[in-house]
Symmetry: C2
Subunit: 196 residues, 2 copies
DNA sequence: CTTTAATACGGAACATTGTTCCGTTTCGCA
DNA sequence: TGCGAAACGGAACAATGTTCCGTATTAAAG
C-alpha cells in the first residue's frame, strides 16, 4: 500500500506546474523579504495570478508550512548525496554547513513559530523527525571511520547548532556565529591520543 | 535635581489631554482587539484624528510600550493601596489576583515580545523592576503576620504565576488556569502545625 | 483684553496589501 | 476534434497604515 501523501498532488498538468512554481517563488521571496512578504510578489515571481496562489494555498500559513517542509526535505536529501560524494568526515562537515544555512534562513520563522498559531505547531517535530535520522547516519559513518566521537546524540548536535546559529536575530551568519559552531564541531572530533 | 522623565509631557494643555486620552483608548482597544487593532479604532475611541495619534506615537511600538508601562505602574501602585486597605494576608491575595489579571491581559503581547523588535526588549526588565518590589513588600508583611512562608522569593512567585497563567495562549483565565494558580498560592501559606 | 506666533489638530487623500469573483483559458478525455 | 470540467488571471473591492496641509487651539506678549 503506497502511503497517501499528506498533500495531494493536483491532477492537471498546469496545476502541478503552478504549484511547484509557487513553492519555488515563495522560497526565494521568503528568503529575501521574510514570511510577511506581499502575496503579489510571490505570485508575480511564480508567473501566476494571485487567484492561483489562493487556490493552492488558501492560508498564508499553508504556503509557509509547505516551503518549510520542502526545505527540510531538501536538507535531509543532501545528507545522502554528500555521503555518496565524500568520505565520512568531510560529508558530515559539509552537511552541518548545509544545516547551518537552513537554520539561518529560517530565522524569520521564529515569530510565526511562537505566534501560537496551531498551523505551525508540528513543524519542529517535522524537522527533528526528518533531520535527526540524516544526522545520525552521517555521525555513525564518521564515527566508524574514527573521525568523530562515537557518543554524540544527533538531536543534541542539531539543537546545539540551531541555538548557536541564532545569536542576533537579524540575519547574518557570517561572523562569530559560524566560529562558535566551528568550536562545537571541533568538540566532536575523535582524538584519543595524537596531537593535531 | 528632579530626575528628567523618560517621556516628556507635552507643554500645551490640549496635547497633554489627547496624550492621556490616547493611552486610555489604546488600553481598552488592545484589551478588546489585541495589539494589532487598527489605528483608526484607537484614534476614534480617543476622540482624536489619526494625525494626532501619529504625532504622539510615530511607531505602533511606542504606543504599545507606553500602555504596557502604564499598566505595570498601575499594578505596582495597587500594591500600596491594598496594603493600606487590608490586613497583610488578604492584601497579598488580592494583589496576586490583580497581577493575574494583568498577565492574562498581556497575552497578546507575547508575539511582539518574541518578535526581536528592540523596542520591546526592555519590557520584561521594566516589569520585574517595578513589580518585584511591590510583591516583596506584600510578601514581607504577610510573612511577618505569619500568613505565608518567609522564604518565598518575589521574582519566583511572579514568574511562576506568569507561566501558569498562560496555558492556552488564547485568552480565558477563568478555568483551570486560575485553579492552578490557587494551588501555587496555597503552597506559600504558612502552616507549621495546625490543621485548617 | 487683543494680538500673535507657535503648536497641535483633523481627516481627506494616498499607498500598500489581503481577498474575492467571474469571464476566459487550458486540460484531459472520448 | 469537440466537450465539459478544472484551473487561471487579474480587475475590483476592502481594510489598514501613513502622510500632508489648511484650520483651530493655546500660551504668551503687548
Amino acid at each position: 500500500m503506497p502511503a497517501s501523501k499528506g498533500k495531494k498532488e493536483p491532477v492537471r498538468a498546469d496545476a502541478r506546474r503552478n504549484l511547484h512554481a509557487l513553492l519555488n517563488a515563495a522560497m526565494q521571496v521568503f528568503a529575501t523579504s521574510g514570511v510577511d512578504a506581499p502575496v503579489r510578489d510571490i505570485a508575480e515571481r511564480a508567473g501566476v495570478g494571485v487567484g492561483t496562489l489562493y487556490r493552492h494555498f488558501p492560508q498564508r500559513s499553508d504556503l509557509i508550512v509547505a516551503v518549510f517542509r520542502k526545505e527540510v526535505d531538501a536538507c535531509a536529501a543532501a545528507a545522502a548525496t554528500l555521503a555518496d560524494q565524500y568520505e565520512p568526515g568531510e560529508a558530515l562537515e559539509r552537511w552541518l554547513d548545509r544545516f547551518i544555512e537552513f537554520v539561518a534562513a529560517k530565522r524569520g520563522l521564529s515569530a510565526a513559530l511562537h505566534s501560537g498559531d496551531p498551523a505551525y505547531e508540528h513543524l519542529p517535530q517535522y524537522l527533528m523527525e526528518h533531520l535527526a535520522p540524516a544526522a545520525a547516519g552521517l555521525l555513525q559513518a564518521a564515527a566508524a571511520a574514527g573521525k568523530v566521537r562515537p557518543d554524540v546524540q544527533p538531536v543534541d548536535l542539531l539543537m546545539g547548532i540551531a541555538h548557536l546559529s541564532s545569536p542576533d536575530g537579524k540575519g547574518s551568519i557570517t561572523g562569530e556565529s559560524r566560529r562558535m559552531v566551528s568550536l562545537l564541531i571541533d568538540g566532536l572530533r575523535y582524538r584519543p591520543n595524537a596531537a593535531p
